[in-house]
């Protein structure tokens, strides 16, 4: 199935460009905005680095979630889902293929974005050292977890709710505190953010960027919540898949 989704890249400019085009555009627009803000500030490049940090690391969450949902939709759009599920492929192998493909695409996209950020603005994500891997994994888990919630609804209700594939994850952006500290948020939003694992990662990223200290506690909490969410959300996806089978997978074509 990973090969099947890789073939999509070859034939769809959409699927190829979303790895490079949008990250590049974001980095250009928001990078320049960051430069301007840096000029207005005495703290020079901090604004810029906070923005670039948010942009680059959010790609991981976005890609991991989006690849799950868009690949399910591609089977529905192609009327191919029946062909897939008359093969011996089981639901867990399908889930694994989404995760592997999402991981690979995230990696390529993040490396590309990091390279652009370094070349254009001198922002080097390698400053995080080995902790970078932990940040990457935790954000990947967040993307997968939220991806499987949306996937559950897609497999049950089909393309009529496909907009969730693009906009579903956006609901956690304000609470993830990509570009600002959690303390800026109103109290109720801070309470919500406690349940959003990516909020701990972005807090830890900023902390490490400015203090060089890795906030193990925050990272630990994010991993704990992520693992719980991922298990629950995969269960939810399988549950919705079985619900869909009650009325027939064939109706999705």
């Amino acid at each position: 199935m990973v090969i099947r989704y890789t073939y999509n890249l070859k034939h769809s400019l959409d699927r190829l460009s979303d790895m490079f085009y949008w990250p590049l555009l974001d980095l250009l627009i928001w990078g320049v905005t960051g430069l301007y803000l840096a000029k207005l500030s005495t703290h020079s490049s901090n604004y810029l680095f906070i923005i670039l940090n948010g942009l680059i690391f959010w790609i991981i969450v976005w890609r991991a979630q989006h690849e799950i949902n868009i690949n399910i939709l591609s089977e529905i759009w192609d009327k191919n889902i029946v062909n897939i599920f008359v093969t011996p492929l089981n639901i867990y192998e399908w889930i694994l293929s989404f995760m592997i493909f999402g991981f690979l695409k995230s990696l390529v996209s993040v490396v590309f974005s990091a390279l652009i950020a370094y070349l254009l603005y001198g922002f080097n994500i390698l400053v995080y050292g080995p902790a970078l891997i932990l940040f990457f994994i935790s954000l990947m888990l967040t993307g997968w977890a939220f991806g499987f919630i949306v996937a559950g609804f897609l497999i049950r209700f089909g393309e009529r709710i496909q907009t969730l594939a693009w906009g579903g994850i956006a609901i956690i952006i304000p609470f993830s505190a990509l570009y600002y500290p959690l303390s800026i948020l109103p109290h109720w939003a801070q309470l919500v953010a406690r349940f959003i694992p990516s909020s701990y990662v972005f807090e830890a990223l900023r902390e490490m960027l400015f203090t060089k200290q890795l906030a193990f506690d925050k990272l630990g909490i994010s991993f704990g919540i992520n693992i719980l969410y991922l298990i629950a959300d995969i269960w939810f996806f399988v549950f919705m898949f079985n619900k869909a089978k009650k009325i027939g997978i064939g109706r999705l074509i």
Binding site: M1, I3, R4, Y7, N8, H11, S12, S74, W77, D78, K79, N80, V82, N83, I84, F85, V86, T87, P88, L89, N90, N242, K245, K246, I247, G248, I249, G250, I253
Partner: protein
Amino acid sequence: MFQNVLEVKNLTKKFKDFVAVDNISFDLRHAEVLGLLGPNGAGKTTTIQMLLDLMTPTSGTISYFGKDLRKHRAEILKDVNFSSTYISLPWFFTVNEILDIFARLYEVPDRQKRIAKLLEEFEIDHLRKRQYFMLSAGERTRLLLTKAFLNYPKIILLDEPTSSLDPDIAVRIRKFLIKERNEYNVSVLLTSHNMAEVEEMCDRVMVIKAGKIVVSGTPTSLTQTISECSVELNLDNAKKASDFFNSKQINFEINKSRFKIKMDEKKIAEFLALLSSEGLEYTEISIFKPDLEDFFLSIVKQKND
């Protein structure tokens, strides 16, 4: 060797109060071609979806090769395949890419060799690099059939396998299916609205209506249940003949001097004697025995009645 490669027992599918499939039981025998017929909405597609584990039955069991489908799904589906004109394949992929993916999913050994052989069998080897969306309807159907035979299936479920094909290609596909059955003992369950095709290919036919199997048997045995023949003859004196048939309350259709009358096979001799006694001479006569289509129509008519 299992005599029955597929056994369905008391299969039922309910959607709230609507019973789509109502407690059906049947089997598919080794190297048999079984036709599943029925009017639209009879429950054929629902049954096929359940046979492929695309839909969960409300109750009943499905077992292939003596193994329960729900418990041994992956193992069973390695030896089963499916094709339907109602499904599609990845739109922008080339023929070779599509087949390569499915060959991998079925873990087909030496997959490129198998793909090449089947593409040749279905006469689409020249389309190997063409994208799916550029294929004609007939080429797509042949590609779906190629996909369906990739894994050397022991059982194949075909939903309208030759619809949208040119007649000459349809004939070749039917020959291929029969050859696969004869040479490799493939068992086939097929649905079709082409009764001539069903009659030609199927060893046994099952008619499903309102979710129930109403009749099952060989195509010949089913057609023999209808005794009504169609007699067509040219009568020189059409006016006199029409008056005579009306007086005897014999239903007929007329086109110029050609009459078409439906009657029990056993009464044909008596009818011809009656014509002779009335001095009605015919110049040409044809007697059409009932075929599977007549049988199917009689079943549908019973439903409507």
